[in-house]
Amino acid sequence: MNDTLANTEKKTAYILTLPAVAIVFAIILFPIFANIWISFKEVELKDIRIPEPRAKKIVKSILEEPSKIKILYKLRNSSLLQEIRDVSFKDKFPKNFKIEELDPRCNFKNSTLKCKFGNWPAKYRENFNVVFETNDESEIDKKALKSTKPKLKGTSDNILLNTNFTLKNFKKVLFENEFLDLLLTTFYYTFFGTVGSIIFGILTAQMVNQKFYGRTFMRSVLLFPYVAPVVALAYTWELLLDPNSGTLNSLLLNYQIIETPINLLGQKYIELNILGFDFKLRLALTTVIMFEIWRYFPLAFLFILARLQAIPKELYEAADVDGASPFQKFFKITLPQITAVISILFMIRFIWNFNKFEDVFLLTGGASGTRTLPINVYQQGFAISDIGMGSAVSIVIVVLLLLFMFFYFKLLGKRVDEN
């Protein structure tokens, strides 16, 4: 009895989870394997369309012979690259139709025209004519004739399914793609974006955790950049930072802080002189990182605030009795309580920033030294239309992420052991 109950429970569970698991498998897990497959192939964007045999049907009446009708099929192979084998053709006609002259490749039975056209090479084109006559001299309905579409079938190779593999893509990614520069840019973007958003998150959480008038309002305002659509925010920032008529540059010029406008999103380097040391700052990258921090510190803020509110009040009361200063309280009580949250946040944000595509794409399109790995996936796959290369870059991203997670957990595990 118990056994059958457990069995039905199992069955129910599988039925309940199956739809969700199936769709996630199809859209998330399967593409990951497909990516590995594609990354070992030389595939371009134009190769991925499956070649199809196509026919355009044109109905022409013949002068002075109203009972006859001519039908012209414009046949072609849709692909410019691949042949189609064993093309078959089928079209239906009204019952009272009689065919004149039958092409040797075709037969006409039960009002159906069937043809076997054999193999069509790439770019193949043919004009195929048939003439029909009605048995009963009745008028021919041209519209009805046009509305029935011929059916064509053929087999062709799908370039994605053959088994020619090559390592060329990975060689190109690692040696011909300024890989080190790409990696470094991605690292700067990810690391500083993550650290910056966490620092601002701590500051704001500490701020909102105190009592002041309008606190709940402040909490929702702080989350605005996180919940608003990227597209709107990115274009607003672009307008704000525009060198010619942007608000920021105009303000700075107005207050005589700068003399010439700065192209914050379009300039790769800016020379700075601080305390007599000259150094070059990657300007566009810094701006993009600023946007990143601005948009994602709210997540850190929320997590840290939730943790701060959970710290028992007694700890602070005890510290007050001992005469601890606000800074001591922050460093000795608050900070140790939020390290766990911060380490989780660091991992989550690091992974997500590492894969961030939209923000950089919308702000700079990857120009002026902001080309990160995800941008490169897009550029390789869709701008240069080399699907194989794009896939290879995304595989590199996955491998790097797995490496990061491995070392991060190892490091974290060690620290937990020490405590």
């Binding site: 199992k10 608003a228 597209v231 607003t236 207050y255 997540l299 796959g381």
Partner: protein, 397 residues
């Protein structure tokens, strides 16, 4: 000790005053006033002196009178230094000064004598400073977005600093950008597509997620732990990695440029979050209710529809709002899968608009306002649900 603390206090509060007045000056400049300098030195000296005076006057005069007197003195001097500014600017300055004075009212000699008093002051002012700074930095782009959408191309180019809106003009002229994007750029259609896609995603996701979450939360089956851990791992997985294979597969299946294609992808990407959030809530529902239902011979379908769903309406609605927001804001997949303007979503349409360098920026901003408003409205209105959900599940972004 006391003098040192007093000087430090005056120093900090002077900086706070500089920030307050500078933000006010920036806002005033954006209304078309011609202010060319922050006068930081003057502000600093004033702030410093006012703070010192506050401490030395102490309780001899009532706080309200003290604040009003100091504010008036400042306004008179400030108005004398930067002349020809309209009255509203000076009233603003007066109110800011009054606010500043009432903030520093609570500090006095007794307080300054205490241990750590400078640190407490620093903390207090940093909080105030932070609130102002962050509100300004966050709200400013939104403010700019809204204002720009009401301006004309010429006005924007002539004086990019003039943010003032001319309300005396016709409503038709004021909302011209909005009329244009609806008429010539078919934004009505894009709103419809975005709504269909987002609402559709919510419905399908909930349809799939509720049973799955129930199974994970309640039933025992082989592979349960594997399933619940893989939900989290999949949730972390980068979308950019899926783009190329999905693009090729969708091209071959003819799913590009279709709402169905987007629905499938959005559902798959939001399912893990939805299941994760829901199963956490389902676990908190007392088991006894279901046991009673099993005795009544209810099937699992009955249990879910008659017990679980009515009891977890708050959690379900918070998941629904989330999924809606993710689908509405989504950009990467709509960029990849849609290239026919007839099937664009709002985000994609705005990006397409900006691709044409000729598009006036006020149209772009009007589009941005349209795409942003529903999300912000939902967020502010349902904030309570959403914030608790955010910390539990944390939306992907």
């Amino acid at each position: 000790m006391r003098t040192k603390n007093t000087i430090i206090f005056s120093f900090i509060s002077a900086f706070f005053l500089i920030l307050l007045i500078s933000i006010w000056k920036i806002l005033a400049t954006l209304q078309g006033l011609n202010i060319n300098s922050f006068n930081i030195e003057v502000l600093f000296i004033f702030g410093f002196l006012i703070s010192l005076a506050h401490i030395s006057v102490g309780n001899k005069i009532k706080n309200i009178y003290k604040s009003i007197i100091f504010s008036l003195i400042f306004v008179l001097f400030d108005g004398y230094l930067i002349q020809k500014l309209p009255l509203w600017y000076n009233i603003g300055v007066f109110l800011i000064l009054y606010f500043f004075n009432s903030k520093i009212n609570k500090y006095n000699y007794v307080f300054l004598k205490e241990e750590h008093s400078t640190q407490v002051i620093l903390f207090d002012f940093l909080t105030l400073f932070g609130i102002l700074f962050f509100s300004f930095v966050i709200l400013f782009p939104f403010y700019m977005m809204l204002v720009t959408s009401f301006k004309t191309q010429i006005a924007l180019l002539v004086n990019p600093l003039d943010f003032s809106i001319n309300f005396s003009q016709d409503l038709k002229d004021l909302f011209k950008s909005y009329f244009v994007i609806f008429k010539s750029y078919k934004f009505g259609k894009y709103i419809l597509t975005s709504t269909i896609v987002s609402v559709g995603t919510v419905i399908i996701t909930l349809l799939f997620a509720i049973p799955a979450a129930y199974a994970v939360a309640r039933l025992n089956f082989f592979g349960k732990t594997f399933l619940s851990t893989s939900i989290l791992i999949i949730y972390m997985f980068p979308a950019i990695v899926l783009v190329i294979p999905l693009y090729t597969i969708f091209s071959q299946l003819g799913l590009r440029n279709s709402i169905e294609g987007l629905l499938i992808v959005y559902t798959a990407t939001t399912l893990p979050v939805a299941i994760y959030m829901l199963q956490g809530y389902f676990k908190s529902i007392p088991k006894e209710l279901e046991e009673a239902a099993i005795l009544d011979k209810l099937s699992w379908f009955g249990i879910i529809t008659k017990i679980i769903i009515p009891l977890s309406i708050p959690a379900i609605s918070s998941v629904a709002l989330y999924v809606f927001m993710i689908a509405w804001n989504e950009f990467l997949f709509s960029l990849m899968f849609l290239d026919n303007p007839n099937s664009f979503t709002l985000s994609r349409a705005i990006q397409y608009l900006s691709g044409d360098a000729e598009t006036p920026r006020q149209y772009l901003m009007a589009g941005s306002v349209i795409v942003t408003l529903p999300v912000l409205f939902i967020f502010v209105y349902f904030e309570k649900y959403l914030v608790s959900g955010l910390t539990a599940g944390s939306v992907k972004g």
